[in-house]
Symmetry: C2
Subunit: 123 residues, 2 copies
Amino acid sequence: MNIAISNASEKPIYQQLFEQISAQILKGELEGGYSLPPIRQAAKELRVSIITVKKAWEELERCGLINTITGKGCFVAEFLSEEMGRIREEMVLKQMVNDVSYYKSFGLTIEEVIELLKKAYTV
Amino acid sequence: MNIAISNASEKPIYQQLFEQISAQILKGELEGGYSLPPIRQAAKELRVSIITVKKAWEELERCGLINTITGKGCFVAEFLSEEMGRIREEMVLKQMVNDVSYYKSFGLTIEEVIELLKKAYTV
DNA sequence: ATAATTGTATATATCGTATATACACAATAT
DNA sequence: ATATTGTGTATATACGATATATACAATTAT
Protein backbone atom coordinates (compact mmCIF):
# COMPACT_ATOMS: atom_id res chain seq x y z
CA MET A 1 0.00 0.00 0.00
CA ASN A 2 1.49 3.28 -1.17
CA ILE A 3 -0.36 6.05 0.63
CA ALA A 4 0.74 9.37 2.09
CA ILE A 5 -1.45 10.90 4.78
CA SER A 6 -0.92 14.54 5.63
CA ASN A 7 -2.27 15.80 8.91
CA ALA A 8 -1.48 19.32 7.74
CA SER A 9 -3.88 19.03 4.78
CA GLU A 10 -7.27 20.65 5.11
CA LYS A 11 -8.74 17.54 3.53
CA PRO A 12 -10.04 14.93 5.98
CA ILE A 13 -7.98 11.78 6.29
CA TYR A 14 -10.65 9.48 4.91
CA GLN A 15 -10.92 11.74 1.87
CA GLN A 16 -7.17 11.62 1.24
CA LEU A 17 -7.30 7.86 1.50
CA PHE A 18 -10.25 7.63 -0.84
CA GLU A 19 -8.67 9.88 -3.44
CA GLN A 20 -5.34 8.11 -3.48
CA ILE A 21 -6.77 4.61 -3.63
CA SER A 22 -9.29 5.50 -6.32
CA ALA A 23 -6.54 7.13 -8.37
CA GLN A 24 -4.45 3.98 -8.06
CA ILE A 25 -7.35 1.80 -9.12
CA LEU A 26 -8.23 3.99 -12.10
CA LYS A 27 -4.62 4.19 -13.21
CA GLY A 28 -4.58 0.39 -13.25
CA GLU A 29 -1.95 0.24 -10.53
CA LEU A 30 -4.26 -1.96 -8.48
CA GLU A 31 -5.58 -4.77 -10.63
CA GLY A 32 -9.12 -6.05 -10.64
CA GLY A 33 -9.70 -8.70 -8.01
CA TYR A 34 -6.75 -7.50 -5.95
CA SER A 35 -7.48 -7.47 -2.25
CA LEU A 36 -7.03 -4.23 -0.38
CA PRO A 37 -5.22 -4.62 2.92
CA PRO A 38 -7.57 -5.46 5.82
CA ILE A 39 -8.73 -2.30 7.54
CA ARG A 40 -6.88 -3.15 10.75
CA GLN A 41 -3.61 -3.57 8.93
CA ALA A 42 -4.15 -0.41 6.89
CA ALA A 43 -5.08 1.48 10.05
CA LYS A 44 -1.95 0.28 11.84
CA GLU A 45 0.28 1.05 8.88
CA LEU A 46 -1.16 4.55 8.44
CA ARG A 47 -1.41 5.16 12.21
CA VAL A 48 -5.07 5.92 11.94
CA SER A 49 -8.30 4.48 13.34
CA ILE A 50 -9.92 1.53 11.57
CA ILE A 51 -13.10 3.60 11.43
CA THR A 52 -11.33 6.18 9.33
CA VAL A 53 -10.10 3.51 6.95
CA LYS A 54 -13.55 1.97 6.84
CA LYS A 55 -15.06 5.31 5.93
CA ALA A 56 -12.68 5.64 2.99
CA TRP A 57 -13.37 2.05 1.87
CA GLU A 58 -17.12 2.77 2.10
CA GLU A 59 -16.71 5.67 -0.31
CA LEU A 60 -14.82 3.40 -2.70
CA GLU A 61 -17.64 0.86 -2.44
CA ARG A 62 -20.24 3.57 -3.06
CA CYS A 63 -18.38 4.58 -6.23
CA GLY A 64 -18.29 0.97 -7.39
CA LEU A 65 -14.50 0.87 -7.27
CA ILE A 66 -14.31 -2.02 -4.82
CA ASN A 67 -16.52 -4.86 -3.63
CA THR A 68 -16.69 -5.44 0.09
CA ILE A 69 -17.50 -8.87 1.51
CA THR A 70 -17.94 -9.12 5.26
CA GLY A 71 -15.52 -11.61 6.75
CA LYS A 72 -13.50 -11.87 3.54
CA GLY A 73 -12.17 -8.51 2.52
CA CYS A 74 -12.39 -5.70 -0.02
CA PHE A 75 -11.59 -6.40 -3.63
CA VAL A 76 -10.82 -4.08 -6.49
CA ALA A 77 -13.60 -4.11 -9.10
CA GLU A 78 -12.89 -5.27 -12.66
CA PHE A 79 -12.80 -2.63 -15.36
CA LEU A 80 -12.05 -2.45 -19.05
CA SER A 81 -9.25 0.04 -19.59
CA GLU A 82 -11.52 2.30 -21.64
CA GLU A 83 -14.01 2.23 -18.79
CA MET A 84 -11.28 3.24 -16.37
CA GLY A 85 -10.36 6.20 -18.52
CA ARG A 86 -13.97 7.32 -18.69
CA ILE A 87 -14.52 7.08 -14.94
CA ARG A 88 -11.26 8.86 -14.29
CA GLU A 89 -12.23 11.77 -16.50
CA GLU A 90 -15.67 11.79 -14.92
CA MET A 91 -14.26 12.07 -11.41
CA VAL A 92 -11.74 14.74 -12.34
CA LEU A 93 -14.27 16.72 -14.35
CA LYS A 94 -16.74 16.69 -11.50
CA GLN A 95 -14.18 18.17 -9.15
CA MET A 96 -12.98 20.56 -11.81
CA VAL A 97 -16.40 22.09 -12.38
CA ASN A 98 -16.37 22.97 -8.72
CA ASP A 99 -12.87 24.42 -8.84
CA VAL A 100 -13.55 26.43 -11.96
CA SER A 101 -16.49 28.25 -10.41
CA TYR A 102 -13.99 29.82 -8.04
CA TYR A 103 -11.68 30.94 -10.84
CA LYS A 104 -14.63 32.31 -12.78
CA SER A 105 -15.84 34.32 -9.80
CA PHE A 106 -12.64 36.34 -10.04
CA GLY A 107 -13.50 37.22 -13.60
CA LEU A 108 -10.61 35.31 -15.13
CA THR A 109 -10.94 34.24 -18.75
CA ILE A 110 -10.18 30.66 -19.71
CA GLU A 111 -6.93 31.81 -21.30
CA GLU A 112 -5.80 33.41 -18.08
CA VAL A 113 -6.78 30.31 -16.14
CA ILE A 114 -4.79 28.10 -18.49
CA GLU A 115 -1.72 30.30 -18.05
CA LEU A 116 -2.02 30.09 -14.28
CA LEU A 117 -2.64 26.38 -14.50
CA LYS A 118 0.65 25.84 -16.28
CA LYS A 119 2.37 27.65 -13.43
CA ALA A 120 0.48 25.65 -10.85
CA TYR A 121 1.35 22.40 -12.59
CA THR A 122 5.07 22.94 -12.21
CA VAL A 123 4.88 23.66 -8.48
CA MET B 1 -24.82 43.69 -2.00
CA ASN B 2 -24.85 41.01 -4.65
CA ILE B 3 -24.21 37.70 -2.91
CA ALA B 4 -25.59 34.20 -3.40
CA ILE B 5 -25.40 31.81 -0.47
CA SER B 6 -25.90 28.12 -1.14
CA ASN B 7 -26.76 25.89 1.76
CA ALA B 8 -26.21 22.93 -0.53
CA SER B 9 -22.57 23.83 -1.10
CA GLU B 10 -19.94 21.96 0.82
CA LYS B 11 -18.20 25.25 1.46
CA PRO B 12 -19.04 26.94 4.76
CA ILE B 13 -21.20 30.05 4.51
CA TYR B 14 -18.55 32.43 5.79
CA GLN B 15 -16.16 31.07 3.14
CA GLN B 16 -18.68 31.66 0.36
CA LEU B 17 -19.19 35.19 1.61
CA PHE B 18 -15.47 35.82 1.82
CA GLU B 19 -14.81 34.50 -1.67
CA GLN B 20 -17.57 36.48 -3.32
CA ILE B 21 -16.77 39.76 -1.62
CA SER B 22 -13.04 39.45 -2.23
CA ALA B 23 -13.70 38.67 -5.88
CA GLN B 24 -15.87 41.77 -6.16
CA ILE B 25 -13.23 43.93 -4.53
CA LEU B 26 -10.43 42.58 -6.72
CA LYS B 27 -12.50 43.00 -9.86
CA GLY B 28 -12.94 46.65 -8.90
CA GLU B 29 -16.69 46.25 -8.55
CA LEU B 30 -16.45 47.60 -5.03
CA GLU B 31 -14.42 50.79 -5.01
CA GLY B 32 -11.82 51.72 -2.46
CA GLY B 33 -13.35 53.49 0.54
CA TYR B 34 -16.75 51.99 -0.15
CA SER B 35 -18.50 50.87 3.02
CA LEU B 36 -19.65 47.27 3.26
CA PRO B 37 -23.15 46.89 4.64
CA PRO B 38 -23.26 46.71 8.45
CA ILE B 39 -23.05 43.11 9.61
CA ARG B 40 -26.58 43.18 10.99
CA GLN B 41 -28.02 44.35 7.72
CA ALA B 42 -25.96 41.85 5.74
CA ALA B 43 -26.99 39.08 8.14
CA LYS B 44 -30.66 39.97 7.79
CA GLU B 45 -30.46 40.23 4.02
CA LEU B 46 -28.67 36.90 3.70
CA ARG B 47 -30.74 35.26 6.45
CA VAL B 48 -27.65 34.31 8.36
CA SER B 49 -26.20 35.03 11.79
CA ILE B 50 -24.19 38.21 12.29
CA ILE B 51 -21.39 36.03 13.65
CA THR B 52 -21.15 34.30 10.31
CA VAL B 53 -20.93 37.61 8.50
CA LYS B 54 -18.38 38.85 11.00
CA LYS B 55 -16.24 35.77 10.40
CA ALA B 56 -16.20 36.48 6.68
CA TRP B 57 -15.40 40.16 7.24
CA GLU B 58 -12.57 39.11 9.59
CA GLU B 59 -11.04 37.05 6.81
CA LEU B 60 -11.27 40.03 4.46
CA GLU B 61 -9.57 42.16 7.08
CA ARG B 62 -6.84 39.54 7.57
CA CYS B 63 -6.19 39.59 3.81
CA GLY B 64 -5.95 43.38 3.85
CA LEU B 65 -8.97 43.76 1.58
CA ILE B 66 -10.99 45.85 4.02
CA ASN B 67 -10.37 48.07 7.03
CA THR B 68 -12.64 47.58 10.01
CA ILE B 69 -13.33 50.38 12.46
CA THR B 70 -15.41 49.59 15.52
CA GLY B 71 -18.51 51.75 15.68
CA LYS B 72 -18.03 53.04 12.14
CA GLY B 73 -18.03 50.18 9.71
CA CYS B 74 -15.91 48.18 7.28
CA PHE B 75 -14.35 49.93 4.31
CA VAL B 76 -12.88 48.55 1.12
CA ALA B 77 -9.12 49.09 0.98
CA GLU B 78 -7.56 51.23 -1.75
CA PHE B 79 -5.63 49.43 -4.48
CA LEU B 80 -3.88 50.33 -7.69
CA SER B 81 -5.41 48.31 -10.49
CA GLU B 82 -2.11 46.53 -11.15
CA GLU B 83 -1.98 45.61 -7.48
CA MET B 84 -5.49 44.20 -7.70
CA GLY B 85 -4.50 42.05 -10.64
CA ARG B 86 -1.50 40.72 -8.78
CA ILE B 87 -3.46 39.87 -5.64
CA ARG B 88 -6.18 38.25 -7.70
CA GLU B 89 -3.72 35.98 -9.47
CA GLU B 90 -2.06 35.22 -6.17
CA MET B 91 -5.31 34.10 -4.58
CA VAL B 92 -6.38 32.03 -7.56
CA LEU B 93 -2.96 30.45 -7.96
CA LYS B 94 -2.85 29.45 -4.33
CA GLN B 95 -6.15 27.63 -4.66
CA MET B 96 -5.12 26.19 -7.99
CA VAL B 97 -1.97 24.55 -6.67
CA ASN B 98 -4.23 22.69 -4.30
CA ASP B 99 -6.69 21.67 -6.99
CA VAL B 100 -3.99 20.56 -9.38
CA SER B 101 -2.56 18.05 -6.93
CA TYR B 102 -5.81 16.16 -7.24
CA TYR B 103 -5.69 16.12 -11.04
CA LYS B 104 -2.07 15.04 -10.95
CA SER B 105 -2.84 12.16 -8.62
CA PHE B 106 -4.94 10.63 -11.39
CA GLY B 107 -1.92 10.68 -13.65
CA LEU B 108 -3.35 13.23 -16.06
CA THR B 109 -0.90 15.23 -18.15
CA ILE B 110 -1.24 18.98 -18.30
CA GLU B 111 -2.59 18.70 -21.84
CA GLU B 112 -5.37 16.38 -20.68
CA VAL B 113 -6.15 18.70 -17.79
CA ILE B 114 -6.40 21.68 -20.13
CA GLU B 115 -8.82 19.78 -22.37
CA LEU B 116 -11.01 18.91 -19.40
CA LEU B 117 -10.74 22.44 -18.12
CA LYS B 118 -12.20 23.79 -21.33
CA LYS B 119 -15.14 21.47 -20.88
CA ALA B 120 -15.52 22.45 -17.24
CA TYR B 121 -15.44 26.11 -18.17
CA THR B 122 -18.46 25.86 -20.41
CA VAL B 123 -20.61 24.13 -17.81
C1' DA C 1 -26.13 63.79 27.43
C1' DT C 2 -28.60 60.25 25.27
C1' DA C 3 -30.30 57.40 21.67
C1' DA C 4 -29.14 54.96 17.65
C1' DT C 5 -25.74 52.59 14.91
C1' DT C 6 -21.64 50.22 14.44
C1' DG C 7 -18.38 46.29 15.51
C1' DT C 8 -16.97 42.76 19.52
C1' DA C 9 -17.08 39.07 22.96
C1' DT C 10 -19.17 35.14 25.44
C1' DA C 11 -21.81 31.06 25.87
C1' DT C 12 -24.45 27.35 23.41
C1' DA C 13 -26.01 24.08 19.78
C1' DT C 14 -25.10 21.18 15.99
C1' DC C 15 -22.54 18.59 12.70
C1' DG C 16 -18.53 16.30 10.70
C1' DT C 17 -14.29 13.89 11.68
C1' DA C 18 -11.76 10.62 14.28
C1' DT C 19 -11.38 7.25 17.91
C1' DA C 20 -11.85 2.88 20.97
C1' DT C 21 -14.26 -0.99 21.94
C1' DA C 22 -17.53 -4.51 21.42
C1' DC C 23 -20.16 -7.27 17.86
C1' DA C 24 -21.13 -10.42 13.73
C1' DC C 25 -19.78 -13.03 9.78
C1' DA C 26 -16.41 -16.15 7.06
C1' DA C 27 -12.42 -19.01 6.53
C1' DT C 28 -9.28 -22.20 8.47
C1' DA C 29 -7.11 -25.49 11.66
C1' DT C 30 -8.00 -29.06 14.67
C1' DA D 1 -18.20 -30.30 13.92
C1' DT D 2 -16.23 -26.69 16.44
C1' DA D 3 -12.86 -23.61 18.12
C1' DT D 4 -9.82 -20.08 16.59
C1' DT D 5 -8.37 -16.62 13.76
C1' DG D 6 -9.21 -13.06 10.43
C1' DT D 7 -12.39 -10.19 8.17
C1' DG D 8 -15.89 -6.26 8.05
C1' DT D 9 -19.73 -3.81 11.15
C1' DA D 10 -22.10 -1.22 14.78
C1' DT D 11 -22.30 1.61 19.01
C1' DA D 12 -20.86 5.09 22.09
C1' DT D 13 -17.58 8.98 22.93
C1' DA D 14 -14.45 12.99 22.15
C1' DC D 15 -13.12 16.92 19.76
C1' DG D 16 -13.10 20.75 16.62
C1' DA D 17 -15.24 23.71 13.14
C1' DT D 18 -19.42 26.06 11.86
C1' DA D 19 -23.38 28.67 13.01
C1' DT D 20 -26.36 30.91 16.34
C1' DA D 21 -28.40 34.19 20.06
C1' DT D 22 -27.56 37.43 23.28
C1' DA D 23 -25.06 40.70 25.88
C1' DC D 24 -21.14 44.17 25.60
C1' DA D 25 -18.25 48.28 23.92
C1' DA D 26 -17.14 52.01 20.81
C1' DT D 27 -18.69 55.69 17.63
C1' DT D 28 -21.90 58.88 15.61
C1' DA D 29 -26.06 61.71 15.36
C1' DT D 30 -29.54 64.23 17.76
